[in-house]
Symmetry: C2
Subunit: 249 residues, 2 copies
C-alpha cells in the first residue's frame, strides 16, 4: 500500500512543483505496469490521501496526463490508463489516404525478422552505442490485398528482446500495441520526413514494380513516454498511388 512518504522517498526532484512530482510518479506507475488498463486508477480523493496533498493538486497532475494521452477520464466510472489499442490508434500515425483524402485501412505482413549489429544510421536514430544490436523487421502493408507500403523497421534488440520470442505471424496489423503488450513500451510521438526517390530492389519486388520506379520515402523516428528514440522506420510507397494527410496546429 502506498503511504504519504512515497512522494518524499521517490526519486523525483523535490524542488519541483508537487503536481509535477505526482506526474512523474504516475508516469512511472504506468511504465512499470503498476497501473494497468484493466481497472481504474485510485480515485482522486484516494490519491490525495495517499500522498498527503490536496485533491486539486492530484487533479492538476491527472489533467496533464490526460492531455498527454496517457490517461482517460470517464465521469462516474473512474480514470483509466489509456489503452493504445483503443479507437483510432491506427490513424494516429498512419496518415495514408486514398485519392479523395479518405483514410485507408491497411493490414500488415511481416516479411523478415533479424537481429544484427546496428549500422551507423540506426545508431544515430536510436541513440545507440557502437556495437549495439538491433532487431530489424521488413514488412508490407496492404490495402484490399494490394501492397501499398514496404517498411524497414529497426529497434533496440535489448529493449525489445520479448519480440524475438513471438512468431511474426502473430504480430498483428499494428506494432505499437504489440510493443506495449510484449515489451511494456509505449510510443507517444513520432517525427516523419517525406521525400521522393526511386524504389530499392527489395521494395520494388514487394510492391510489384520495377527497380527504379518512383516512390515516396517516409522516414519515421518514434519516441516513447520517456522521450527516448525507440523506433526507426524507413518506408517506401509507389509514388503514383501515394497520398498522405496531416493536420498542422
Amino acid at each position: 500500500m502506498a503511504t504519504s512518504d512515497e512522494l518524499q522517498e521517490s526519486t523525483t526532484d523535490r524542488r519541483l512543483p508537487l503536481y509535477q512530482q505526482l506526474k512523474d510518479l504516475f508516469v512511472a506507475k504506468i511504465r512499470d505496469g503498476a497501473w494497468s488498463d484493466a481497472a481504474p486508477i485510485p480515485s482522486e480523493i484516494e490519491l490525495a490521501a495517499m500522498y498527503g496533498v490536496a485533491p486539486g493538486t492530484v487533479r492538476r497532475a491527472i489533467d496533464d496526463l490526460v492531455a498527454a494521452r496517457l490517461l482517460v477520464r470517464q465521469q462516474g466510472r473512474g480514470t483509466f490508463v489509456r489503452d493504445v489499442d483503443l479507437g483510432n490508434a491506427l490513424f494516429r500515425f498512419f496518415r495514408f489516404t486514398d485519392a479523395k483524402g479518405q483514410a485507408l485501412l491497411p493490414s500488415a505482413r511481416i516479411l523478415s525478422r533479424r537481429e544484427t549489429e546496428a549500422d551507423r544510421e540506426e545508431r544515430e536514430h536510436l541513440a545507440l552505442a557502437r556495437g549495439a544490436r538491433v532487431l530489424r523487421l521488413e514488412r508490407v502493408r496492404l490495402v484490399r490485398d494490394e501492397p501499398l507500403l514496404f517498411e524497414k523497421i529497426s529497434v533496440d534488440a535489448h529493449r525489445f528482446k520479448p519480440l524475438a520470442r513471438i512468431e511474426p505471424g502473430d504480430f498483428g496489423d499494428l506494432l505499437y500495441p504489440l510493443y506495449q503488450a510484449a515489451c511494456g513500451i509505449r510510443i507517444l510521438r513520432a517525427v516523419e520526413t517525406i521525400r521522393f526517390g526511386t524504389a530499392s530492389a527489395g521494395a520494388a519486388r514487394h510492391l510489384r514494380a520495377g527497380t527504379g520506379t518512383p516512390v515516396a520515402i517516409i522516414e519515421r523516428q518514434a519516441f516513447d513516454l520517456d522521450e527516448q528514440a525507440t523506433e526507426w522506420r524507413v518506408s517506401q510507397a509507389l509514388a503514383s498511388r501515394f497520398s498522405y494527410s496531416v493536420e498542422l496546429r
Copy 2:
C-alpha cells in the same frame, strides 16, 4: 467598462459551464480586437471581479486558451493575446526541409492577384455558395533565391476585402500575419494532403522546369479561430528537391 452582467447578456449558452462561457467571451474579445497584443489583458483577479466569478474559474478559461495558442502567460507581467508574428510562426505551417531534415527559411514573391467567381473546388473547400467570389493569389517561395514552391491560394473575396487594397509587393513573406493585421482573421489550424504528380504549365515555368516534370502536390485547407474553412491552397514543388517534415502525436 465591462460589468458582471456582461456574461448574462452575451450570446453564449448559459447552460454551458461558466469557464466555457468565459472562453467564448474571451475568444470574441480577441476576434473583435477588443483585446490586442499591445497590452496585457486584464488580470485574473480583475476578470473574476468583472464577471462575478471566482478567480479559479477565470484561470481555467485562460488555461484552455493558452493551450489553444490564443493567449500567452508571462509570469510577473501579465497575460497577452498571442502575436502570430512572434517566434516560429513560419515553421508552424511551413514544413519543408533540406535533405538533412533541417527546416528551410523561405522568402516569397506574389506573382498575381485576381478577384473572380469561385469554381466548384473553391466553393467546396471554402464552404462558399454558388456565385460567391474569391481572391486568387499566385506566389513562389524561394530559398537562397531558388524557386522551391509554386502556390495557388484562394480566399473568400468578401472576408478578405482589405487585401485588395494592399500592394502585393507589401504582402511580406508570411500571409497569416497579414491576414490578421489587415483582415483580423487568425489561422489556427490546417490540414495538408501530399501527393505526387507532374508540373502544370504555370508551375513548371515558375519553378524553371519543363511541363510534366515530377512534382509534389500539397493541398492545404486552413481554418480560423471559429473553425471556419478560410483558405485553400494548392502548391507544387519539384519532386527531386522535395522534403517535408512533420510531427505526429
